[in-house]
């Protein structure tokens, strides 16, 4: 992800309304036409900022996976108490046979 134009002056990748509609669809957001226009402008600004970083010479810099200087945070493989099932299912909109009942699924599991 250290892309950018070779001359160091990267221009942000163009973003159009159709990209915003696509991303909104992936996130299951329903946007009005007015919102699509507003977010297209805002996302273009965000991408322009990312392009500033992309323009830097980052060869030899390892990608940052996490802002904390930590690795290997682990817990022992020991069982801890679970939640009470009734308490869990009380929060569900619909329950059948001690399971969460969900509406008809359209499409296949990814």
């Amino acid at each position: 992800m250290t892309g950018g134009a070779p001359d160091g002056h990267a221009s942000p990748p163009p973003i159009g309304r159709e990209d915003v509609v696509h991303v909104a669809r992936l996130a299951r957001l329903e946007l009005t036409d007015e919102e699509v226009g507003r977010f297209t402008g805002q996302l273009a600004q965000v991408l322009a900022h990312a392009a500033d970083v992309a323009a830097l010479d980052l060869a030899g810099v390892a990608p940052t996976a996490h802002p904390l200087p930590l690795q290997n945070v682990l817990r022992p493989d020991e069982i801890r108490p679970c939640l009470d099932r009734q308490e869990v299912l009380d929060g569900a909109p619909e329950v059948e046979d001690h399971r969460f009942r969900v509406p008809r699924i359209v499409g296949d599991a990814p």
Binding site: A65, L74, E78
Partner: protein, 484 residues
């Protein structure tokens, strides 16, 4: 293209549920078959404010798998794979994406064929959905029920190179991989419980071509049998398309075991776009050299090494070549974890082929009891049979009692049952009687009709009862045949 010879190309993705006590990111029990939604907590239910913490036992097992498959351990990062489907309440699955823990490697099949391993990465399993109402299949269902006990159970996904060239080879790979996963204590290997799930990427190409054809991914392969059949059917479907001038469309297909065909999964209009991004709630994983060395050193013998150890014992016994049936017995005994018993019995003086046969046949019929069977008792029994103190059928009967009782003195049991092997005199006497009773058959046998060997052995067996000693009887029959 008719008349073209086609080559099948297969790569497999095997999902292995790890045999940990707890889930990958929370302390809920990892347990199959419990009451629905009893092993759930805020983390695996994706409740707001909950945070995942990585299970050390899962990392350890992932590293054991990597070591057994000759992979390199790399520093790795977890990503979120985003999708909307109710099997994950978070609406994403935590998985390793472009920086997996195990990279590269290989698995050698029993026939020596080497299959390359691309990667073996950690991820969490999803919940279990059941589709109800309508016709009960997903598209016709009225609604679905979800059990999150399995959500968050640790998985290692092992991705092979597209090195496999036939359905039989795919089965051999899955079978050997399963044995390895069980041997390194990573998996219980129970395909019927979903502990191992296989997806197959299948394509065909004209034999001799070095470019790949368009592939289809087949899901829902829950047994070795399904795996083999699905690959055969899918390859035939693709060949038929190509031979009729049509193209193979890259897609995901579902194996329908009952109808014996693959059917396309209905995809949404857009391709899946999982928007992977690094999981901000987890830090990178980078096992140091010390941990890696400790894991590699704790592996124990792998199935291939265990088979080689038994074959060496058979070779060393000096009584002839190892037959195909004996090689099968070696594989079966290793698969069932009974090879240590055989090795111990042989080092205690029992004859190797007999120890192998009793383990592969009688002990394997009750593996649990076999694991409790004291080695000394098994060794003594096999030695008695080897020395001719017990006939094969008597030995099997005593072994049955040893297995049932969790051990005992074979000599005492044989004594209680009044067992003694046929004496040389009684063998000769019974053979005499039987030969005299069937002069016509004997004439034909003596004239070279080998099929009658079975007839005489059977008749003698009937007369001798449980003291029947097949080895002594066939030797006596052959001796008389030479005299005849």
């Amino acid at each position: 293209m008719s008349g073209t010879e086609w080559e099948t190309v297969v790569g497999l993705e095997v999902h292995c549920e790890l045999k940990t006590a707890t889930k990958l990111f929370c302390g809920c029990a990892n347990s199959f078959g419990d009451e629905p939604n009893t092993n759930v907590c805020p983390v695996c239910l994706g409740l707001p404010g909950s945070l995942p913490v990585l299970n050390e036992g899962a990392v350890e097992r992932a590293m054991r798998i990597g070591a057994a498959l000759h992979c390199e351990v790399h520093p790795s990062v977890f990503h979120r794979k985003n999708y909307f489907y109710p099997d994950m309440p978070k609406d994403y699955q935590i998985s390793q994406y472009d920086e997996p823990i195990n990279v590269g490697g290989w698995l050698d099949l029993p026939d020596g064929f080497r299959v390359g391993i691309v990667r073996a990465h950690l991820e969490e399993d999803t919940g279990k959905t059941s589709h109800l109402g309508g016709d009960g299949r997903i598209h016709g269902a009225d609604y679905s029920l979800v059990d999150y006990n399995r959500a968050g159970v640790p998985l290692v996904e092992i991705v092979s190179e597209p090195d496999i060239r036939s359905a039989a080879q795919a089965r051999a790979y899955a079978s050997e991989l399963r044995a390895v996963l069980v041997a390194v204590d990573a998996s219980d290997g129970r395909m019927e419980e979903g502990s191992l799930r296989v997806d197959a990427n299948v394509s065909v190409r004209p034999a001799g071509s070095d470019t790949f054809g368009t592939r289809c991914e087949i899901k829902n392969l829950n047994s070795l049998r399904s795996l083999g059949r699905a690959i055969e059917h899918e390859a035939a479907r693709q060949v038929a398309l190509l031979e009729s001038g049509e193209a193979v469309v890259q897609q995901t297909r579902h194996w329908d075991e009952a109808a014996a065909r693959t059917v396309p999964l209905r995809s949404k209009e857009e391709a899946f776009d999982y928007r992977y991004f690094p999981e901000p709630d987890l830090v990178p994983l980078a096992p140091d050299a010390g941990w890696q060395a400790a894991v590699a050193g704790s592996l124990g013998l792998l199935p291939a090494q265990r088979r080689a150890r038994l074959l060496a014992l058979l070779d060393g016994a000096g009584d002839g070549e190892v037959s195909a049936a004996q090689a099968d017995q070696v594989s079966a005994v290793v698969d069932q974890g009974l090879d240590d018993l055989v090795v111990a019995a042989v080092s205690g003086g029992a004859p190797a082929r007999l120890a192998l046969a009793r383990a592969a046949n009688e002990v394997a019929a009750d593996v649990e009891a076999g694991r409790r069977l004291p080695v000394a008792d098994f060794t003594k029994l096999v030695s008695m049979e080897g020395d001719g103190k017990l006939s094969a059928s008597q030995s099997k009967e005593v072994l049955g009692e040893l297995l049932g009782a969790g051990g005992g003195d074979p000599e005492a049991i044989a004594g209680q049952r009044g067992f003694e092997a046929m004496s040389a005199d009684s063998v000769v006497a019974i053979v005499n009687e039987v030969v005299a009773a069937h002069p016509d058959e004997w004439g034909r046998f003596a004239g070279g009709d080998q099929k009658l060997m079975g007839f005489f052995v059977g008749a003698i067996r009937e007369r001798a009862g449980s003291s029947f000693d097949g080895k002594a009887v066939s030797a006596e029959l052959r001796r008389r045949l030479q005299e005849a």
